[in-house]
Symmetry: D2
Subunit: 484 residues, 4 copies
Amino acid sequence: MPPAHPFDDDKLKEECGIFGVVGVSDAANFVALGLHALQHRGQEAGGIVTHDAEAGFNSARRFGYVRDNFTSQSVMETLPGPLAIGHVRYSTAGSKGQTAIRDVQPFFGEFSMGGAAIAHNGNITNANALRRELIERGSIFQSSSDSECIIHLMARSMGRSIPDRMEEALRKVEGAFSVVAMTRTKLIGVRDPLGVRPLVLGKLGDGWVLSSETCALDIIGAEFIREIEAGEMVVINDEGVQSHFPFRRAKSRFCIFEHVYFSRPDSILGGRSVYESRRQIGVELAKEAPVDADLVCPVPDSGTPAAIGFSQESGIPFALGITRNQYMGRTFIEPTEQIRNMGVRLKLNVNRGLIRGKRVILVDDSVVRGTTSRKIKEMILDAGAAEVHFRIASPPTAWPCFYGVDTPQREKLLAATMSEEEMRAHLEVDSLKFISLDGLYRAVGQANGRDADSPQYCDACFSGDYPVRPVDMLEQGFEMKAAE
Amino acid sequence: MPPAHPFDDDKLKEECGIFGVVGVSDAANFVALGLHALQHRGQEAGGIVTHDAEAGFNSARRFGYVRDNFTSQSVMETLPGPLAIGHVRYSTAGSKGQTAIRDVQPFFGEFSMGGAAIAHNGNITNANALRRELIERGSIFQSSSDSECIIHLMARSMGRSIPDRMEEALRKVEGAFSVVAMTRTKLIGVRDPLGVRPLVLGKLGDGWVLSSETCALDIIGAEFIREIEAGEMVVINDEGVQSHFPFRRAKSRFCIFEHVYFSRPDSILGGRSVYESRRQIGVELAKEAPVDADLVCPVPDSGTPAAIGFSQESGIPFALGITRNQYMGRTFIEPTEQIRNMGVRLKLNVNRGLIRGKRVILVDDSVVRGTTSRKIKEMILDAGAAEVHFRIASPPTAWPCFYGVDTPQREKLLAATMSEEEMRAHLEVDSLKFISLDGLYRAVGQANGRDADSPQYCDACFSGDYPVRPVDMLEQGFEMKAAE
Amino acid sequence: MPPAHPFDDDKLKEECGIFGVVGVSDAANFVALGLHALQHRGQEAGGIVTHDAEAGFNSARRFGYVRDNFTSQSVMETLPGPLAIGHVRYSTAGSKGQTAIRDVQPFFGEFSMGGAAIAHNGNITNANALRRELIERGSIFQSSSDSECIIHLMARSMGRSIPDRMEEALRKVEGAFSVVAMTRTKLIGVRDPLGVRPLVLGKLGDGWVLSSETCALDIIGAEFIREIEAGEMVVINDEGVQSHFPFRRAKSRFCIFEHVYFSRPDSILGGRSVYESRRQIGVELAKEAPVDADLVCPVPDSGTPAAIGFSQESGIPFALGITRNQYMGRTFIEPTEQIRNMGVRLKLNVNRGLIRGKRVILVDDSVVRGTTSRKIKEMILDAGAAEVHFRIASPPTAWPCFYGVDTPQREKLLAATMSEEEMRAHLEVDSLKFISLDGLYRAVGQANGRDADSPQYCDACFSGDYPVRPVDMLEQGFEMKAAE
Amino acid sequence: MPPAHPFDDDKLKEECGIFGVVGVSDAANFVALGLHALQHRGQEAGGIVTHDAEAGFNSARRFGYVRDNFTSQSVMETLPGPLAIGHVRYSTAGSKGQTAIRDVQPFFGEFSMGGAAIAHNGNITNANALRRELIERGSIFQSSSDSECIIHLMARSMGRSIPDRMEEALRKVEGAFSVVAMTRTKLIGVRDPLGVRPLVLGKLGDGWVLSSETCALDIIGAEFIREIEAGEMVVINDEGVQSHFPFRRAKSRFCIFEHVYFSRPDSILGGRSVYESRRQIGVELAKEAPVDADLVCPVPDSGTPAAIGFSQESGIPFALGITRNQYMGRTFIEPTEQIRNMGVRLKLNVNRGLIRGKRVILVDDSVVRGTTSRKIKEMILDAGAAEVHFRIASPPTAWPCFYGVDTPQREKLLAATMSEEEMRAHLEVDSLKFISLDGLYRAVGQANGRDADSPQYCDACFSGDYPVRPVDMLEQGFEMKAAE
């Protein structure tokens, strides 16, 4: 069950997925499949760039799903060659109009020694400052994307090779960035010094693959080799994989929310099955916050693994109390006789026969604004539930993410302004419990919980502890957590 | 979790869903929502007809999903009025080209006393014979649909009112048919004498609703009143609901496969939660065909309730061992380096981290051709499973359905030519067990199982016992089961 | 120069063009070309029906131009076979929404002896009455088209062959109708007893062609054989052309407006070049209504041949004083600073350098509402013309046409309520002259002008003398000219 | 009659039209209208950029006609503000696939002092060299357009204002370029030092307009003020029009082919009506190359004014012997029974009734490859003409244009390899005559013909005398005419 969720507008959203292939015929076909498997990381748009000895660089960038844009013969035959990278991009709630196709990655630049294309997942936290400087010196930006800074920094570098120029450029950017890039002959992958966003290496016949997640290796039958390390740059060509470490070494701070929600449950992160981690969160949650009830129901679909774990630990039967409409839509015309919670009804329906008279534990992955939780609670009560208990598979989301995730402004986050009990009262449910930060760390394999002095993960959205200063945001007035 | 399934081409397919509303403003908006909730019963096309005192009859019929066709202001404002009926139509595998928009229901006819529109779910088993006769007498058919016979029979009737004409027409047709129809002022619903296909009555404010399933009442907040009875015709106008019984009375034979697969799990059929019936099938199956194993995994999504029941009865942990791609596509270009089982990979991925080394019970709802089951088994083994055991939540599907369900020809049905053991060997799995017909009857509430002398349900697809002679099919050479 | 005109909304409009081919491979490809050449007779929609021994009957009907709908391999390969008919349909001003695709011809009916398709150009004047009767007897109409009556009359006929049934049906309809029809083996053409609308026969290799105009024979390289006679029915198959005369003989009354405007100038009507007839109208007009001026300018494009004739007869130089925009559009957003006559400017521009200070004769084909004439006059004066003289290549259009031409209601026709001098004053021009009815008859070859006792043409739009009673219109309140 | 021509693939093609407006509300609506009037200068794509104090810069760039892309409320309301420029772009024969939307002008750049947009008509002859240098220094090109050089040169300039930067940039480029540009407050227009391509200034209420041709002033009711001079740069804001001369002064060499074919006949060039110049070409041609014949027929539509002039001078009647299909298409499927010259028949038809037995003079504007002339001659002979005489309204086109016109390679030009008599023999016509270069100069107002020492126009396509060295082309191997 993939992590897509019927209430995208009340969830944190991963901003991107990246994928690259070198050393196989018609690499773009593999990239299309890989991006399809990574579609949950970005649904607004996608792009593929290829290189072929005869046809040179080619690209196609489109709004919409991979399955709709990169499946026809007519498109795919414009993308020949043994080397390709691709990107899927997130959909911002309601602001589609503001994204131009020119903002869709990969970006391409022609340098004096040849062209290069680049795509990234993450966010450059000093992009505004870099952009100002580059414009001052005569660079012309074509997009509003932070990623375009990298290509301009490369263009101005005096480095002799494209990998050299990329190293030089990347040392100037700050933030979280997993990158795939390509020259005419090389596939390049980079993770930022803290390794905030994922990137893995796979083997496909005689060729190589880079992917945000392992689930995209599976779809093309590629073998998972290893994760790219934090701060590592791999340069791959016919002769194999060369590893570089261009940055100052730092301790890894991988995004813990990838375990909670972003990654697909059938991916493997840090050697652990994501599904298992999520089930384990449910187990921990059942230990931390038990409650007497008749049924454990997931909020579909992302709450399911934790609900299974909760059921198994607590012995309370697991049941699908809420049915998701497979053919979701957002835009039906509201009939004149008001339908209560119409938005929710388009996507979900409560299994009335099952729920009536029952004490129900609802397991959800997170609470962002809380708007959806309220509506689901109402539907469950309308269907005759006796009690409603929320159990949340992550700690309270109290801080925005600046590392490549689309988060509401801090004041919109329910947990930024309310205590757990205030949230319970606000949602009008019988109980509401979040897993503790230590519990979450345990569930993802840190037996002793979070190391407060040197946390093993980036958990800024829960803790306010930002491992990279969000320079541009501070300039725009964001206030960091006061030192304690 | 709705019954939609990633392998539509290896499933029996419901051919239609129907919905009608009278007595509320802008009835078409409610019909659009109702059809959206019934989309699992037909994805190829949909249509809505409305009547308004000023604007008269209007209709819109389109290929594609309800959410894409009946959500824009520009379309919906062409469908004014307090009375509307709608229809969603199945998608036949690969033959889209042969369906013309003129085959999309509802059908409309102008009679001397005014117009009427009609839509049905089911199949008229003597349609070919009726059609020949009507053409002989000068009727001109505009579609290839069996339903059009009804409207021509009505046109030729000497009845004074449209309901009278409809009664007369329906007495001439044989088969399974749940009908919604409308005149300028009346909403009409009919179920065939055996009540093979479902139809329910709901109340919406001062108005009334007819729907294939209760889940579509929920989406508009309508109250479920009762099922239309087998052989009943209801005529609804401002003054309320009138009930007629135009046919010779017969014992009801509702389609048992609606419980197994067709209906949504959050619908209520015959007073029972469909989800609960399916979970109970899993319980029965665990009793009938236990096996020692590590995990019980559903084949997503339709096998899930039975898998939960199997797990609960057997004590073997339930797990989501197969992840379904939320953004399914069918048409990626196969890369030159062959990807094994690419078709399946586009839709499903095995959770390798979870499955490796495990003895896995896979619970699926049915086996039709068996092609998909084979591929899933291969994926599970590729991922390192130690053993694979299939448990099927229905008896062997050995006979085609002629009552409104799209079934392969008999010789394509795996169970038509193989014993259970032969099927197991063919699928190359460690064990394969189907629920017994009696077990299925018990799970849907018949404590004593199937009454062989007078079966409570239509189970022709399992038993070959056809409650209505398939006249047209016999003419085309179909051979019924020899009397025993 | 084709007769299309930038001011379609102020012109009478031909309602249809028809074309049929038998006896050549892939007949539909020829029909597509023929319809393309007849596109000026109808721009809203087009349809083609074919028959092939293996594939049976096939059809495609689409809104829009032939060049956009019937040129792709994917469409045309669905239309195989050696026998095909096609139809292009007029565009009504502003009422596109009311035409459904089901109103697009050819119409098809399945009879007990096989199918037939039919398309016609013209109008059935007793269609409403026939329709009522047919519905009374149980026929179900699928379109709002008058043509559908014919197919229902055929369905109810007891005739043994389709041509027999068509004869029987056509004897019941009144009005103007040129028909092409087809069975599985025969191409059929019919003209109504008065031969109001055109239809010609051509030879193409071993096959045969029927077409509204000769210009469509030219495009496929077919040889023009002869016109179908008034009241003639031709039935064409492998063995050749059989001629029948099913109606009571009557004197031909061909539409004189086909000479003036409807037909393409490169067609041949009644043995005369349409271009030559129009040039001759200009010659007659120059004789009847001379005026001293500097330039003779056509209103593009339909006034051009008459303007050439006027120039040649008068000796006043011909000049293109008005330029037509080749890329006409109707829907630009009017800027806030009002542009005078913006609608006209989108389509035409006055050649200011040429017109300034000149006395200009503008030659147009007809005046319907007069709205466009006013605007053109204003543009010419704005450009500095010294005098503006209108010369009109047809008599005043004072009566609506009920024989297949889209005309405004009588009260909208400028000439229905004003004398020539009143019109001149209304248009505020220096002079305005229409050709006389006798002058027009002379120009099209009747040396003695109109035979008042037995007119050689249908000229109802000028004279109010309707050769066939407009039964349906009289029922709706239309008042015919009082007998004099 | 606009200069568009049914045989675009056998014509020289203007590459662009430009238009700009400042000082009126909703300037984009005027620009859309202006571009519509300039559509003959480029049909492939169009773009508009606007600036509004609140909304900043906005742009829309689309493939296809202005009437299809810039007429909807939804598009136009994204283009607010009192300042706008626009561009229409040519369609290259068959290479549509290679033009990306990023090649569609206007181009936009963000500089440290604010943004600017620029569009041009013409060609930069040293673009390749400039591009190489700019890339070397770190500029990233987004398009393959020569125009993008200008914006990068501006970005790198140290000038304090955008007009200063533009002056500096334009001094580095060579070739033919008429430019419209805009900053947040200024509309800028420039013509290259020789003034090869046209640009005119108009007044619209309190605002100002720049346009390629005067016909686009007419459509919005703007008053024609004057032509921008060769080498002039105008900077227009609220305070009026400032004139600069940034280049070294040179004698003007306006493109003489604008008079022959590119410009619309209702435009005014150099104080002369284009229509009149063309008619005068016909007069000169009749004097230079008289022939005894029955009819003078234009090849529609571009040959018409010259044909009128030829008829008037010679006394031979003018006639429309060839009818153009108003609904041109290029892609009908060729029926299996070969149709001779099908490509031509889709667009033209000979008026057989008129031509039969006649000696016909065909007047065309130019002969490029000669392929079309051959086909037209065949059609005329097929229709029974007794003799065919070609008269061409321009001298032999023997050299490619490098100043913004799409010309075939030199070896494809008929006149590059054949004498006039050889061409006549090749076309198999009774006579073929081109106007002399001096005759052409006389027709456009140079009473003494061409000044060989210092030609008044750019006539490189006829004479091989290139006023600006085609640097990039020479690098690619083009050989200029040997000095005589």
